[in-house]
Symmetry: C2
């Protein structure tokens, strides 16, 4: 069977046949294969004249080195994987970008995928990335059992978990101080005279949600306030449920005078609900968002630095790859309370 036919067969859809290889370049330049490799990689030991001939052949053929083959030979892929929850979530944009910048500084490419908050999909993705032999993995956990990564880590895949801790496995973790941030935020409301404070957050099986709830409880306890179970809504993620939860807290005989929101999605909905009410209700949300200062009143938030999370994680990952890192560590980055008005409203009763 003629060479061309066989190749075309193997690559259906390639409209214009195949790519030239170093062998083709070598043949055209009238030199050996390895000489082409040397030119391409800028290795010494090639006369200027030979180099020119090779370069001409490369340009003429439109040759580009096949990094897959290179990777196979060299063992390192110079790429890292990022498994996150949802690229469309504004919280992850800066995080992802920060990881990419660090990767770029280390000459690595970033391969990423969204788990859509599905543990199975997270695993599938992470393992697919390992099969691609990424040098390292930054994972924002969706699931709570990461033992499936053990063989990979043993095999040398640098791994860092971000935003939420790894499950049942000892690994590097970079987190925001969710507990402290929530406690500060709620304490801020208490400081402005509130005692009946609502908490609307995600399911407590999500680590960040649980920690923020813990912060809420701690702040209340510190102030000697007994928490009424009706003040808390856990696991209300959809806008509809958040709305209902907020409205319930705000009605009834003993309505809350302030609300603390456990994450940015909840915040968006709660802010909507509050905007519709005539009586002002104090509000503090976890996570900052754009234009929070332009709303009336400005929205007071506990801000995490998502870019710093990404940067810290990626840097740690490359330090693992350097071999300069030994024991896994848990790093907590501080949050920042940004006052803009909504959190400083006095109780309305």
């Amino acid at each position: 069977m003629p060479e061309t036919t066989r190749r075309a067969d193997r690559l259906p859809g390639n409209r214009y046949g195949n790519r030239p290889t170093m062998k083709d370049v070598a043949a055209r330049a009238g030199v050996g294969l390895k000489t082409v490799s040397r030119v391409v990689n800028g290795e010494p030991g090639v006369t200027p004249d030979t180099e020119r001939r090779v370069q001409e052949a490369i340009d003429a053929l439109g040759f580009r080195r096949n990094d897959s083959a290179r990777v196979l030979r060299k063992g390192r892929t110079a790429s890292i994987g990022l498994v996150l929850e949802d690229l469309a979530d504004p919280f992850y944009g800066p995080l992802s970008r920060a990881v990419e910048e660090v990767a770029r500084a280390h000459g690595a490419l970033l391969i990423n995928g969204s788990s859509a908050e599905d543990p199975e999909r997270e695993q599938e993705l992470a393992l697919a990335l390992c099969a691609r032999r990424v040098d390292g993995l930054v994972v924002i956990p969706a699931g709570d059992d990461h033992r499936y990564l053990e063989p990979e880590i043993r095999a040398g895949v640098a791994t860092v978990f971000v935003d939420r801790p790894a499950g049942r496995i000892d690994a590097d973790v970079v987190l925001s101080d969710n507990y402290g941030g929530a406690r500060d935020g709620v304490a801020h409301l208490i400081g402005h005279g509130h005692r009946r404070i609502g908490f609307i957050g995600d399911m407590p099986r999500i680590h960040t949600a649980a920690e923020r709830l813990r912060g809420y409880r701690a702040a209340m306890e510190d102030a000697g306030i007994a928490v009424d179970e009706h003040w808390m809504s856990l696991g209300a993620t959809s806008p509809e449920r958040v709305r209902r939860a907020a409205e319930e807290m705000l009605s009834g005989p003993d309505p809350v005078t302030a609300i603390f929101a456990g994450n940015n999605r909840v915040t968006v909905t709660v802010v909507r609900v509050l905007a519709e009410r005539s009586r002002p209700v104090a509000f503090v949300g976890f996570d900052d968002f754009e234009l929070a200062d332009l709303l009336q009143p400005g929205v007071t938030v506990v801000a995490q630095d998502s870019a710093a999370l990404g940067r810290t994680a990626a840097e740690r990952l490359f330090r693992q790859l350097d071999g300069s890192l030994l024991a896994p560590e848990r790093i907590e980055l501080p949050t920042r309370l940004i006052t803009r008005g909504s959190g400083e409203l006095p109780p309305a009763d």
Copy 2:
């Protein structure tokens, strides 16, 4: 030299030696190499008993197929590249996510990188992705000359440009109807009685900016309004310059009564400036943003569907790969005017 030493040498930083290969699995299971391959790929022709033995060996060794090698052999990588401007920009999150979803549906991974609006970096990134032998490339152009991709496209890399057209090269392009959207937006202001309307946009060398400017001029001309050059600010990208531009338009003897913003970054700043003013100024912005409805007044925008852009582009890319696509095409997706209040304010004079 013993095997282990040689290998450890080749892969510095791998803390725990090397990954098992099919050969290792074969040895452990007492079968041939190809039999392992068959089991891993679910090919027929393996007795249940053999399969079980192989599977046990795989589990025991923690083997995972090396997709790099597989790619080398098979010719297709099942990965596509996405070159965008900035992952942290909220406009690109949903776009990126949409591309990823389509890729996933086709069993492909997504490798992405940010060009940071730098043509050189765009090229560097795109070519690095080609060297990885991605099957296809979705590019949001930063530069205006993409001839550097010609050899790649000839070699069979499916390529689609999004958001901005390709430069000096014939390729698939998926765009928003920037011209029509801007024209509609400005016509909307004119329809509410405005005649002195300001335009603040990006540098006209950026295609989207130029098109939107063209839409502005067209709407004004359709209404028989002569545009004063002082009403236009082109190339004001930094918040400071946008602010100054807006303030200049709003002061002086003949201030504008309405402003049209050419993109979301401009919008954010202009909205800030307008919020500080007592006299209401009508406003329409290109690009939607979260919570636009919560501001006072709600912000009227010309919305693009960034997810649809990504989805359309990715689908087109995979159709190229199917071979079912022939001539490059230019697709324009419609925009949508969303009225929320700011664009319906009457002129203040």
